[in-house]
Each structure stands twice: as structure tokens, then as C-alpha cells.
């Protein structure tokens, strides 16, 4: 027999939990839902647009009656649960409906707080909490003229704006001297007030309500200072309180909210709670993103998976008043230990402030231009070192050379539905918006799964996030604070690497067992990462797991769209000879290679080689003296050079020999992502060394070393690391930089984002300032190279891994 699950509260958090649960264990429970409101589950965030008339109620329904029926869920609408009998495991609702449970989920949300002033119970006094309130306000707006909103916070301003849009004359009474004082600092609060006043709202700041007056219904509001404001409607929006009445009555431990553990359980282990009614680690939450994170964890435990933990959320706020852009996150006030970077342009109505501590973002407030809110928020949660970005930080991500998307927000808004957002997967704006609304998507990951938009190269991520924000009203959830390596684990890249090292784990199986992997043998995201981490941690000891490598690295060639492969032999430093070229030409002809192409890294590419032909072709290449160019791997790719002082009249050093030496030292090494090098013979930089992972620019006095550049999707010029005098130093610094990157970057993180994440100062400290550390890093690199510099092509030409290259059987 199925277990019985009862949900009290038919709102967003509770239903989201059921949705997550149905994904994990659709057959586990017989489910009953009680909702106090007479409606199906709707998107409470979008009440503001319903009030302004921008949306109709039907448009904000998330789950209609057919959804409940389709999942065999019994829904009691309009029935408020009044008692939980924990001994009998039964709930009792108004009107006598009962339901027994094996597990109970409380999602009772919150109640608006009503000021205890005389007159608060008069007809015409409402809160702004549910659809009923909205209906009262809309009716009032049709019949009356004057409204007073008590409370100038997020909710109050949205209500005031809505009523004004409906034609009412609205005054906002706010006790503090700044609007939205919990989200804004003085400068941005004043800008907000000014722009709302221009739209027609009136404000009484420092305004304390003494009494609400009226005979049969509301007629006015009297303030402590004696002023009297005319009002036919009073909206109280002074805050919300977790609705814990029911839980308290049942004897569950409550403080401000129902106390829950990291598994979302209350003090009664059969009773779970999620959403606004919950107090977790001292915090209560009223925004949708944390509620959804809680829902996911709770569902995991209800499904008896028992692995997820909720560790609290960092939140950000946006105001949903059309035409006013406002963003706030984290600690935006700061203290003695913090610094502020401020950009203010009153003329354009724009203000940005970022609060930093130790070069990491602690909080941000933005007004007028909030495009980069999600970017700051991401860096804040990741603890990104922004020392390199400081001078550009407030100008936004678009100024960092982000594939030329420019002013994303206005572009997204003005785009027609047919405009292509994701160039890789050909997804247009209309498709994304439709998926968000029809399939009720709330996160970037969900949009990626359903539409593929931004799931490939990721350069349109900002556009997609903006579409999500615009479609959902700017309150959608982004990734959790600590990003696990993949869905098979709760652990981060860094945690996993540390455990591999400290616990001396030496196989993928051992890591998965020790770190309690959720899947039996991982997935195609975590296995290649673990394989790499083990390879770096235990050079010469760990045996590479071929089955955990992507096909290109498994067969040492690059798969093409038709299933054939490309072959790129190594040409050291890009310098070759007629004899080598002749040998290559003969091999290309012998195997009827359909296309021969010169690559961007100064190599020759044979395209269209069938898999079975690879070993024979490699045998011939081997005989002619060629080894694999690793053009297929997360590995050292090429060292691009110019001819240097041997020929060039501007050359200052022998850049070609330097390039060849670097390539001989580094080839064969596996790296977190592809790694490209270049050596230019003079600052004219013909080898384009300043968009490489490691670039050398020769100067008269020696060599300038540059790191962390790349071309590709997101062009990034290198950071200058240091200048050195002798070629041997170039080798040592290069080896040390490479090894630090190999040991510390996340798998599939190129040097550019790695350097940005850890900060150039850190890289300099490790590679430049700490001489002993540098030599140790270089030594570890050279040691690991002993086992890496074995040509995989020659091995396979001689019969290794034969099963990869021949069919199991030919039939017929």
C-alpha cells in the first residue's frame, strides 16, 4: 500500500515540493492537498502585474485542476486546516474534512502583519498578500479615488504602483526616512522616490500611523503628527510574518517560523515544512528562489533518497515596477572593513554601488541599470576575486569583451520573437519565452534542458537569464551557492580534489564510494573530471580509465559530424621541412584524405579519416617521425611561433627555438581544458601570444610572460605575469604555471576563467614571488611528464587498444 502524504498549503513552495517529488518517486505516495484559498496553485510573485492590469489571473495559474487530477492528487480548495493530531497522524480542516498521513508537509506560508492601530478592521483596509486582496483593491479602484498604502517596502511600492495604474491617487506612508530601507542605501532610495514621484505617487516619509478613521468603511488615515490623509482604501504592507499558528497549536517547536533542520524536517520527524513558514538556521525567507531550493531538498527526503541538504540561501531582490529597474543583494551598507565602488549618473537616472571586502563582492545596489545584477550576484556567491576587474566592474560585463552582446537588456526587450538567442542550437526568443510560460521554468538549468538555449558554448547565458527575469518578473532562481561537480554528487570540484589528495584515493571507484556518489557509476560529466583529477594527483601510479574519457581522447582523434575523424600531427613550434611536407602529402594521398586544412595553430589537419584507418595512418606518420598533435584533447595543443630574429628584421630573440623547446617540454600533458601557447619574437606579436593560455613576447632585454588569454567565444587578452631574462627561466615559469593550473583549476575551466576566479595576484604569488614554490611546481610538472610523453599514436599503430578500431563483427 502506498504511504500517505498530506500537504497543508496550496502555494508555490508546497506544490513545487510535490513536483520535485513526483519527478523522483511518482508512485510513492497517495497525496492530499489542503489550500485555504479557493483557487488552484498560482504564482504569487505575479500578483503585482495582475493588480496593474498587465496580466490576467488565468495567466498566473501554475497548476490547474487537471494537473492535480492527472497525478491522482486529492485537492481540498478553500479548506483551511485547523488542527494536526500528531498522535493519530491526522489533520482536520474547517467543515470537518480529515485526512490521515504517514508524512505531513507544512507549507502554510505567511500572513501579512497588520499594524495594531484603531480602525484596522474597518472595511476597505486590506493587505497585499493574495488574490482576494487584489480583487478588493481592483474593486476599490473602480469606485473610489483615494488610496493610502502604509509601508514603503517592496510590497507596498508594488501595490501603490498598481493602484496608481488603476487610476487612483495614492499616498505612501512610510515610517523610516528612506524607501525600501532594507534593500536600498540612501542614494538609490532617493532616486527611486524621485522617479516614483514623477509618475504621480505621493510620499509621507517618517510617517507614523496613529489611527484609521471611518464610520462604515475607511475614510482616512491620521498620523502621529496630526496630519490627516483622505482614503477610501488602505493597504497595509508593513511586512509579513510566517504563518505558524497551526504548527504551534500542534506543539511543533517554533520561533519566528517553524524550526527545520537541513533536511527540512521539523522537530517531529514525520512532519516536514518548506517555504515562508519555515525558520532555517535562524533565517526566514520570502522570495521564491530559496523556497525552490528548499522544495528540492525536501522532495529528496520525502522520496527516501536522503542525500540532499539545504544550507541556506543568499538572496537578491528586484522591484517589479514596470520601467523602474532596481536590484539589491547581500550587504550593501558595508562597515569599517569594507570598501565601496560607486558610479552615479543622476542625469541618466543610474546608480550602482558594489561593496567589497578583501576584493570580493559583499553586496550590491543598483538603480536604473540592473543588467549586471546577476553577474555581481554570481561573483558574490562564488567569492570571486575581483581585483583585476575593479576598474571596469561598474561598467558591466559587456565591457569585458563578452562576445559583443552589448546592452543585453534593451536588446532582449526590443527583439522580435523570431530573433535567434542561441546561435549554437538555433533557439529563438519566442521559443524560450513559450517554454518558460508553458512549462513553468524557473531556472537557467531548466531552460537549458527544455530548449537547449545557452547549453552549448554558453555565450548567450546573459540573454537567456534576462529573458527569464523579464518573463518571470525578475524573481527567478539561479544556481545554488556551492556548485556540485555534477548531479551525481553534492561535492564541489575543490572538495573532491582535496579528498583525493588527503585520503590518497587512487581510483574512480574509490572516490565514488568515499564521497557517496548518488549514481552507481557516475555520468559523462563527472567521470572524465575524476579521471583527470586522479591522473594529476598520482602521476605514474594512476592507470588512465579509457572508458571515462570522451571519444576524442579515447581514440586520440577528433570526431566529426559524420562519425569520421580528423588527424593533426605535431609540427614542433609550427616549423617544418620540405621532407616532412612531402611525407604528409604522400600519406594524405595514400589514404585519400578528403580535406587537408591548415589550422589556426600552424598545424596540418587531415579531415574525414574513417576510424578503422586511423592506426595504419598513424603507423605511417610515426615512421615519418610525427607524433600526435593532441588537437583532440583537454591537453597541450600547440605552440605558435613567428620566425623571430633568425629572419625578421624586427626580431629580438629566437622565438622559434623557444617555441620548439616549450613544445618539447609540455607536449603530452593533460590539462583541465585545452591549453595553447605562443611565442612572438617582438612586441609586434605576430604569433598572437596575448590571447593564449601562456604567451611569451620577446623583447630586447629578455622575455615577457603573459597568462590567461584566449580567443574563441569570449575573447580575453592575457594578463602580464612578469618579465624574465633567460630562456631557462621561461621554461621554469611555464612549467610552474601549467602545474598550478593542472592542480587547482576545475575540470573544463580554461586558464582565463581560472585566473579570473583565483585572481592574478594569487597566480603571481605562486609562480613569481614564491621561488621555492615555483621550482617545486615545475619539478612536479617535469616528473608527471615522464609518464605523459609517450606517443599514443605509435602505441596504437603497434596494436594497443585494437578493439577501439575494428568492428566486433561484420555480418552479411
Amino acid at each position: 500500500m502506498k504511504e500517505k502524504l498530506v500537504l497543508v498549503g496550496n502555494g508555490m513552495a508546497g506544490i513545487r515540493t510535490l513536483e520535485e517529488l513526483l519527478k523522483l518517486a511518482p508512485e510513492k505516495y497517495e497525496i492530499t492537498v489542503f489550500g485555504a484559498e479557493p483557487y488552484p496553485n498560482y504564482n504569487r510573485i505575479l500578483l503585482s502585474p495582475v493588480l496593474t492590469g498587465e496580466k490576467r489571473f488565468e495567466e498566473i495559474i501554475l497548476n490547474d485542476d487537471t494537473w492535480y487530477a492527472g497525478h491522482d492528487i486529492t485537492l481540498h480548495k478553500g479548506k483551511k486546516v485547523v488542527e494536526i493530531d500528531r498522535r493519530q497522524r491526522r489533520v482536520l480542516a474547517e467543515g470537518g474534512t480529515t485526512a490521515s498521513y504517514d508524512r505531513l508537509l507544512l507549507a502554510t506560508g505567511s500572513n501579512p502583519f497588520l499594524l495594531p492601530v484603531p480602525g484596522k478592521d474597518l472595511p476597505g483596509v486590506v493587505a497585499f498578500r493574495d488574490l482576494w486582496d487584489v480583487e478588493v483593491m481592483l474593486t476599490a479602484a473602480r469606485q473610489c479615488r483615494h488610496a493610502v498604502v502604509i509601508g514603503g517596502g517592496l510590497l507596498g511600492l508594488e501595490a501603490a504602483n498598481g493602484l496608481m495604474k488603476q487610476g487612483m491617487k495614492v499616498t505612501v506612508v512610510h515610517l523610516p526616512d528612506l524607501l525600501m530601507e532594507r534593500q536600498l542605501d540612501a542614494a538609490s532610495a532617493r532616486m527611486l522616490k524621485k522617479s516614483l514621484e514623477e509618475r504621480g505617487l505621493q510620499f509621507v516619509l517618517n510617517g507614523a500611523t496613529k489611527e484609521i478613521i471611518g464610520k462604515k468603511s475607511v475614510q482616512g488615515v491620521v498620523l502621529e503628527d496630526g496630519r490627516e490623509l483622505t482614503a477610501d482604501l488602505v493597504v497595509m504592507a508593513v511586512g509579513i510574518r510566517p504563518n505558524i499558528e497551526l504548527a504551534k497549536k500542534a506543539g511543533l517547536y517554533c520561533e519566528r517560523g517553524v524550526l527545520v533542520s537541513d533536511t527540512m524536517q521539523s522537530y517531529d520527524p514525520r512532519i516536514y515544512a518548506v517555504g515562508e513558514c519555515v525558520q532555517h538556521r535562524g533565517q526566514t525567507y520570502g522570495l521564491v528562489a530559496p523556497l525552490f531550493e528548499q522544495a528540492k531538498v525536501c522532495a529528496n527526503h520525502l522520496a527516501h533518497y536522503g542525500i540532499a541538504r539545504y544550507e541556506g540561501s543568499v538572496i537578491s531582490t528586484k522591484l517589479k515596477v514596470t520601467g523602474i529597474d532596481l536590484f539589491s543583494a547581500g550587504d550593501f551598507t558595508g562597515d569599517d572593513s569594507t570598501e565601496e565602488i560607486v558610479l552615479q549618473d543622476v542625469g541618466r537616472g543610474m546608480y550602482k554601488k558594489v561593496v567589497l571586502k578583501d576584493n570580493r563582492i559583499r553586496g550590491a545596489v543598483m538603480y536604473g541599470d540592473t543588467l549586471d545584477g546577476t553577474w555581481y550576484f554570481q561573483m558574490m556567491r562564488d567569492g570571486t576575486d575581483v581585483s583585476n576587474l575593479r576598474d571596469k566592474l561598474l561598467f558591466g560585463q559587456a565591457h569585458l569583451g563578452d562576445a559583443g552582446h552589448g546592452d543585453i537588456k534593451s536588446r532582449v526587450a526590443s527583439m522580435p520573437d523570431t530573433a535567434e538567442i542561441c546561435g549554437c542550437n538555433g533557439v529563438c526568443k519566442g521559443t524560450i519565452v513559450k517554454a518558460i510560460t508553458d512549462k513553468k521554468l524557473f531556472t537557467l538549468e531548466e531552460v537549458r534542458a527544455h530548449t537547449k538555449a545557452s547549453s552549448s558554448c554558453g555565450s548567450c547565458t546573459g540573454l537567456v537569464e534576462n529573458l527569464l527575469a523579464a518573463t518571470l518578473g525578475g524573481d527567478y532562481s539561479t544556481a545554488p551557492k556551492k556548485k556540485p561537480l555534477c548531479p551525481c554528487t553534492e561535492h564541489t570540484h575543490d572538495d573532491i580534489r582535496a579528498v583525493i589528495r588527503d585520503q590518497k584515493l587512487k581510483s574512480i571507484r574509490a572516490v565514488m564510494e568515499k564521497m557517496e556518489w548518488k549514481t552507481p557509476d557516475g555520468c559523462n560529466k563527472c567521470r572524465p573530471a575524476l579521471n583527470f583529477y586522479l591522473l594529476v594527483a598520482w602521476p605514474g601510479e594512476y592507470v588512465d580509465d579509457n572508458q571515462s574519457r570522451f571519444i576524442n581522447e579515447r581514440v586520440h582523434a577528433n570526431i566529426q559530424k559524420d562519425g569520421t575523424y580528423s588527424v593533426v600531427p605535431r609540427i614542433w613550434g609550427g616549423e617544418t621541412t620540405p621532407a616532412e611536407l612531402r611525407a604528409l602529402a604522400e600519406i594524405a594521398e595514400k589514404y585519400s584524405v578528403p580535406t587537408v586544412h591548415i589550422t589556426g595553430g600552424q598545424r596540418i589537419d587531415f579531415l574525414g579519416v574513417p576510424k578503422e584507418t586511423l592506426p595504419a595512418m598513424w603507423g605511417d606518420l610515426s615512421k615519418a617521425g610525427f607524433v600526435s598533435g593532441h588537437a583532440y584533447g583537454k591537453a597541450i595543443r600547440t605552440v605558435k611561433t613567428c620566425v623571430g630574429k633568425t629572419w625578421c628584421r624586427f626580431g629580438t630573440q629566437d622565438s622559434t627555438t623557444m617555441g620548439i623547446d616549450l613544445e618539447k617540454m609540455t607536449w603530452g600533458s593533460w590539462t583541465p581544458h585545452k591549453f595553447k601557447l605562443a611565442v612572438s619574437g617582438c612586441p609586434r606579436n605576430c604569433a598572437e601570444a596575448t590571447i593564449k593560455d601562456f604567451g611569451v613576447v620577446c623583447v630586447d632585454s629578455g622575455y615577457e610572460l603573459h597568462v590567461g588569454g584566449n580567443g574563441g567565444v569570449k575573447v580575453r587578452a592575457t594578463d602580464f605575469l612578469c618579465a624574465v631574462k633567460a630562456p631557462e627561466e621561461v621554461m621554469e615559469y611555464c612549467a610552474a604555471f601549467l602545474q598550478a593550473y593542472r592542480e587547482e583549476a576545475h575540470y573544463l575551466e580554461r586558464t582565463a576563467p581560472w585566473v579570473e576566479r583565483v585572481g592574478l595576484a594569487y597566480v603571481k604569488q605562486r609562480v613569481v614571488e614564491d621561488g621555492v614554490g615555483r621550482r617545486a611546481l615545475a619539478e612536479r610538472f617535469r616528473y608527471s611528464q615522464k609518464f605523459a610523453q609517450i606517443d599514443p599514436w605509435a602505441e596504437r599503430a603497434n596494436g594497443a587498444e585494437r578493439h577501439e578500431f575494428v568492428p566486433l563483427k561484420m555480418v552479411g
Binding site: 534542458a449 527544455h450 552549448s456 549514481t519 552507481p520 557509476d521 557516475g522 555520468c523 559523462n524 567521470r527 572524465p528 579509457n546 572508458q547 571515462s548 574519457r549 570522451f550 571519444i551 576524442n552 581514440v555 570526431i559 559530424k561 562519425g563 578493439h803 568492428p807 566486433l808 563483427k809 561484420m810 555480418v811 552479411g812
Partner: protein, 119 residues
């Protein structure tokens, strides 16, 4: 895997030994009607699918096998090995071929199951 009653022994073709297929890997059986990918999972189960991803025709035999799924090497669609169906929200399928293991030898039916257009 099919039972003997459904398919007679003469409809099965021996294609090789189980140990010829790497664990968490696949081998290709080449037929006149196209390639069939024969997978061996970590728990030593064997599955066979048309070696053609429903998305853009990628060779599934070249993908990373994890659990009872394979990730297509071209665009990372995940295909369920037991049904041939693409993992939601993607839609499509690769035809399933009956396969069985007897005394360490792998037998394959060259006639795909009904129901999937991508035969």
C-alpha cells in the same frame, strides 16, 4: 533480453564474446542495413541499439556509457540503453535490437524491435 520462446535460436547471430566489449563501453556490429552498437554496462548487462542518435545521427557506440545510458558524442543527448529512448526533455529513439548472453558469448537478433522509426 528476449526469451527463447519469442525468438528461435536460428534468428540469433553470435557476434563475439562478452569480454571483447569493454565494460562501460561498446563495440560495433557492421551489417548491410547499418551499424548496430552493442553496449556493456558496468553491471555487465548487454544492450544493442541502432548506432545512430535520433538527434543528428551521431554514432552512439562512441559515447560514454554510464548507468544504463549512453551520451551521444556529438551533442550530448542521453539515450536509455534499455528502451532506446532519448532522455527527457529530448525526444526520439534509436531502435532496439534483442540481445542475449549465453556462456560468455553475445548473440544478437538483426531484426530490430517494433515501435521506433529510427531502425
Amino acid at each position: 533480453m528476449q526469451t527463447m520462446t519469442k525468438k528461435q535460436m536460428n534468428e540469433w547471430t553470435e557476434v563475439g564474446k562478452l569480454i571483447d566489449i569493454p565494460r562501460q563501453g561498446a563495440r560495433v556490429v557492421r551489417t548491410r542495413d547499418g551499424d548496430i552498437a552493442v553496449f556493456r554496462t558496468a553491471d555487465d548487462q548487454v544492450f544493442a541499439l541502432r548506432d545512430r542518435c535520433p538527434h543528428k545521427g551521431g554514432p552512439l557506440s562512441q559515447g560514454i556509457v554510464h548507468g544504463h545510458k549512453v551520451a551521444c558524442p556529438l551533442h550530448d543527448w542521453k539515450i536509455h540503453l534499455d528502451t532506446g529512448l532519448a532522455m527527457a526533455p529530448d525526444e526520439g529513439c534509436a531502435a532496439r535490437f534483442p540481445v542475449r548472453v549465453l556462456d560468455g558469448h553475445v548473440f544478437l537478433s538483426l531484426e530490430p524491435d517494433e515501435g521506433c522509426p529510427n531502425r
